[in-house]
């Protein structure tokens, strides 16, 4: 356990020692700060003026999705060359020549990347939360809890890309991770759009079942909708019979098992 925590610490320190990480974080916070402009405008919908709380509410939900999705991209970029860089700079040899199990090394590395990515997302969500609190004068209960829920998606992305990077070039591994998430976003968003009043009205005469593959595909986007339902206080309607948190939990276990299994067999 001690060595696991040491490796997590080294991973975090190595990432935050890179200037580019802080530049990326500062730019992201800067973009999030631009949200403040949304709260001071006058908005009319169907001839009715919207109050600032309603505007802040909707802007914060949209920003929540953008940040949660964007961080998945960052997690993929951070994870893609994690293991190959360690191989190239001798880190894996110096670590594994110590009395350290391979599972400790690889899980510590993945946990470190996950922790940094999650912290990145949480800081951005916290910034939105504070802006909304200050600009619109209303807190959004559940906003930060929803951010924590989305960390499961980040963990899935880290494990998937790390596993894939053992079998293919780093860039291709990142593309596989991004591709899986992109398909999930398209499929889940279509389902959730179909669940809306407008969607149901449009599809009233053409009821369509959910394809089998969509039931078992990683529910990355559904997890975000589930997280947003925490903010809204809505009842979440999952796509398929299993809750997305359980589906994603299963995929996280699967990706972790794949990573450990593949790394155990790898020659260093």
């Amino acid at each position: 356990m001690r060595n696991f925590l040491n490796i997590v610490k080294y991973t975090v320190v190595d990432i935050i020692n890179q200037k580019s990480f802080f530049v990326l974080l500062a730019v992201s916070i800067g973009f999030v700060m631009l949200l403040r402009g949304c709260y001071s405008g006058n908005y009319m919908v169907n001839g009715k003026s919207l109050d600032s709380v309603t505007v802040a509410w909707h802007a914060s939900i949209i920003a929540f999705h953008i940040v949660a999705g964007g961080v998945l991209l960052i997690a993929a970029i951070l994870s893609m060359n994690l293991l190959s860089r360690d191989r190239d700079d001798g880190t894996v040899q110096y670590m594994l020549s110590k009395p350290l199990a391979r599972i400790t090394y690889v899980s510590g590395r993945a946990a470190g990347i996950w922790l940094v990515s999650f912290a990145f997302m949480f800081v951005l969500h916290l910034t939105i939360f504070v802006i909304t609190l200050i600009s619109a004068g209303g807190a959004m209960p559940g906003y930060l809890a929803a951010s924590c829920l989305c960390s499961l998606n980040v963990l899935f992305m880290v494990l998937l890309v790390c596993t894939m990077s053992l079998f293919m070039p780093d860039f291709a591994a990142a593309m596989v991770g991004i591709g899986v998430v992109a398909v999930s976003f398209v499929a889940d968003s279509l389902f959730h759009a179909a669940q809306s009043r407008l969607g149901q009205a449009l599809l009233a005469n053409h009821p369509a079942g959910i394809p089998g593959w969509e039931m078992v595909w990683p529910k990355v986007c559904s997890m975000q909708y589930c997280a947003v339902s925490l903010i809204k206080g809505d009842v979440f309607r999952p796509l398929g019979p299993v809750h997305p948190a359980l589906v994603m939990g299963g995929y996280v276990c699967l990706a972790a098992a794949g990573l450990v299994f593949a790394f155990q067999r790898r020659e260093i």
Binding site: R2, N3, N6, Y10, D14, N17, D88, D89, G90, T91, Q93, Y94, M95, L96, S97, K98, P99, L100, A101, R265, E267, I268
Partner: protein, 239 residues
């Protein structure tokens, strides 16, 4: 004690054996040299001992613990051939990580780091980032890192690589000092003159098989050098 029992390694199906049914032991406190031409299987043998590479057949063990068990590597130091380091770290941070992974912390780690830095002649230079180090300095810091664990067993793969003659002399002195302390050393090297001066026993490997293994004093006859013995073992008696 290090034991290799009928160990073999084939990297790819259809390829030849990189290591072919090798068995031998290295006694505690012995200074053992693995010699052989490039591609003979020396590094593969060492990697199987450290569980970097899994054998196709046979086993390797350190003090009776199978190499596949991480606990076998307790107190084992390793210097890789053409050792690479994370250049963004300072020498001290690198060594501190090594010490922490060996279970040391705080003052004990600090003392150990200062001790090994002193031994390899890097004291006072450890705060700079390793990207500013020369090749010789990097080799010295890697040697220092290999000495951090204790050390029960030291596995050195070409430790003098990249060093100037003075550096080589220093490495030889360091190894002699470790030998005096009773550390078991397995040395992979092409520097036959250094091996002849320092090692107790040598095994010459060619094409994955041991062709000669004995005490240096027994295999080097009067009036010849280890290089003569090596050439004869690899190319045959008429070379």
């Amino acid at each position: 004690m290090v034991t290799f029992s009928s160990i073999s390694k084939r990297y790819h199906s259809g390829a030849g054996l990189a290591v072919d049914n090798i068995s031998f032991t290295v006694a505690d406190g012995e200074f053992f040299a693995l010699l052989g031409p490039n591609g003979a299987g020396k590094t593969t043998l060492v990697k199987m001992l450290l569980d970097f590479v899994r054998p196709t057949a046979g086993t390797a063990a350190i003090n009776g613990v199978a190499s596949t068990n991480p606990l076998a590597r307790r107190g084992v130091g390793y210097l890789a051939e053409n050792a690479r380091v994370p250049l963004h770290l300072s020498g001290r941070s690198y060594l501190r990580r090594q010490a922490e992974l060996c279970g040391m912390s705080g003052a004990r780690a600090g003392e150990k780091i200062s001790e090994v830095l002193e031994t390899v002649g890097m004291a006072g230079k450890e705060k700079s980032k390793m990207k500013t180090y020369s090749k010789g300095m990097l080799q010295r810091i890697c040697l220092a890192a290999a000495m951090i664990p204790g050390t029960r067993l030291l596995v050195l793969d070409e430790p003098a690589s990249g060093l100037d003659p003075l550096g080589m002399r220093d490495v030889r002195r360091i190894m002699e000092g470790l030998k005096q302390k009773g550390v078991t050393i397995i040395l992979n090297s092409h520097m036959l003159s250094e091996v002849e001066k320092t090692c107790d026993t040598a095994a010459i490997i060619n094409k994955g098989k041991i062709v000669l293994k004995d005490a240096i004093s027994s295999i080097v006859r009067e009036g010849e050098s280890l290089e003569d013995v090596f050439v004869r073992a690899i190319e045959g008696p008429h070379a």
